[in-house]
């Protein structure tokens, strides 16, 4: 496994292409609805694959230990993130809390890219990690709201209370949770045999579709960066670079404690290190409308996502392999 291999993998290069095109203000775009369709495909593919793998092995204690650890990570990381932001940056309480929520939650595309990188490197990983990804999406949002609401004006809390049905649906039934968990179950029910007829669509073209999708992600990240970086100070940008490392280190420790094999450990590190840019922003606009989206969208999509894709993923894989070897 060579870090340069990952850096020059087509997936990463197409991401870089999109990023540079956007930074140079290219007018090109991948239609949003097309990219959204591809995103659903990618989630179905990893869900199904994970489900098929799960159908072959019994769930043991380790699995539940990881589920528990993931929940704790998602609930807990926002506290660290919040503290770091409040101490180092001038972000308001609300903005810091909202941003912290993003870093407790996960980026499913980073996870997909990591799965692909593991496959290229030939390192096996377990199917149930897909469920771990789904589990980690939501708890961080609760921490973020709690952090923002402490001592907040009553009407803000009233607002959240009034919208809580909608908020719950947004965070518990959003596309990635529905598709990941759904496809995982369907894959487990279908098993190896049932999956066979699907593999021509969900396995063979996977990496190619990921390339196309990554081109779009690069365009999005670049556009976010170009519009938003002026608003960000140095401290938040630095945060977008060191926070993933903090998350990864904590996940590595927990993973070692539980005794995870290298592939699974690397994926837990990736989840911990990645930051949400779909589920959490949506929840924040609903529940904390006075928070500034250009802060957290720019950070998670414009800074942390590219960092993880280009440097983080190969690094986490290398560290996980070392720790286990």
């Amino acid at each position: 496994m060579n870090a340069l291999d990952t850096l020059f993998s087509p997936v990463v290069m197409f991401f870089a292409l999109g990023l540079f095109a956007a930074l140079l203000r290219s007018p090109m775009s991948v239609p949003q609805s097309f990219a959204k369709g591809l995103a659903i495909y990618l989630m179905m593919a990893i869900g199904l694959k994970g489900g098929v793998e799960m159908s072959k092995t019994a769930l043991d204690g380790q699995v539940f230990a990881v589920f528990g650890a993931a929940t704790v990570l998602s609930f807990g990381l926002p506290f660290i993130a919040y503290a770091a932001l409040r101490v180092t940056s001038g972000l308001s309480k609300t903005d810091a809390a909202a941003t912290a929520g993003h870093y407790g939650s996960i980026s499913i595309v980073t996870f997909v890219a990591a799965i692909d990188a593991l496959r290229i490197a030939g390192i096996p990983s377990s199917g149930y990690l897909v469920a771990v990804a789904a589990i980690m999406e939501t708890p961080a949002i609760i921490t973020a709201l709690w952090l923002a609401m402490r001592g907040a004006r009553n009407d803000a809390a009233d607002d959240v209370a009034r919208d809580k049905g909608e908020l719950a649906r947004e965070v518990l039934l959003n596309a990635s949770i529905v598709v990941l968990i759904g496809a995982l179950i369907i894959g487990a029910v279908a098993g190896e045999e049932g999956y066979e007829r699907l593999s021509a669509f969900f396995t063979a073209p996977f990496q190619g579709i990921l390339c196309l999708f990554m081109l779009d992600m690069g365009l999005n990240a670049g556009r976010g960066l170009r519009r938003g970086w002026r608003k960000l100070g140095l401290a938040p940008i630095a945060f977008g670079l060191y926070m993933p490392l903090i998350g990864a280190v904590i996940a590595a420790l927990i993973g070692t404690l539980i005794g995870l094999p290298p592939g699974d450990k690397a994926l837990l590190m990736v989840l911990s290190a990645s930051a949400s840019y779909i589920a959490v922003p949506a929840a924040m606009r609903l529940a904390l409308p006075e928070s500034d989206p250009s802060v957290y969208l720019t950070l998670s999509l414009g800074v942390t996502f590219p960092f993880n894709i280009a440097i983080g993923i190969p690094l986490y894989i290398a560290v996980a392999s070392m720790l286990s070897g």
């Binding site: 949003q32 976010g224 608003k231 589920a279 959490v280 949506a282 606009r285």
Partner: protein
């Protein structure tokens, strides 16, 4: 003249708002007794020193929409009071104009 009668005078409310707050605004209008409204997607905009455009925020949470509601003054005026409260913490541009309508019975 099918619309020169006094009955034909209505208000046209136009609300430009972030999509996550749309449902709240709709509930507010319904509770105030509005008989209907129509929502149109915005594709880009400018405000508060930043340009925004649909398709750059993957969460779609910062997408703006334009709600158009034709209604009676008696219905829309009280609705505006409540709307002011909703918009207190939120992005939202409201404008009202005088219009005449066909088929005033619909409103």
């Amino acid at each position: 003249m099918p619309f020169s009668h006094d009955d034909n005078k209505k208000l046209r409310l136009e609300l430009i708002i972030e999509s996550p707050a749309l449902r709240r605004a709709e509930d507010l209008l319904r509770d105030a007794g509005a008989t209907g409204w129509t929502v149109v997607p915005a594709m880009s905009g400018f405000g508060g020193q930043t340009r925004w455009s649909r398709g750059t925020d993957l969460s779609e949470a910062t997408d703006m929409v334009v709600l158009i509601c034709i209604g009676d003054e008696d219905v829309l005026k009280p609705a505006l009071q409540t709307m002011l409260k909703l918009l207190d913490r939120r992005i939202g541009i409201v404008n009202i104009s005088d219009v005449r309508v066909l088929r005033p019975g619909l409103f």
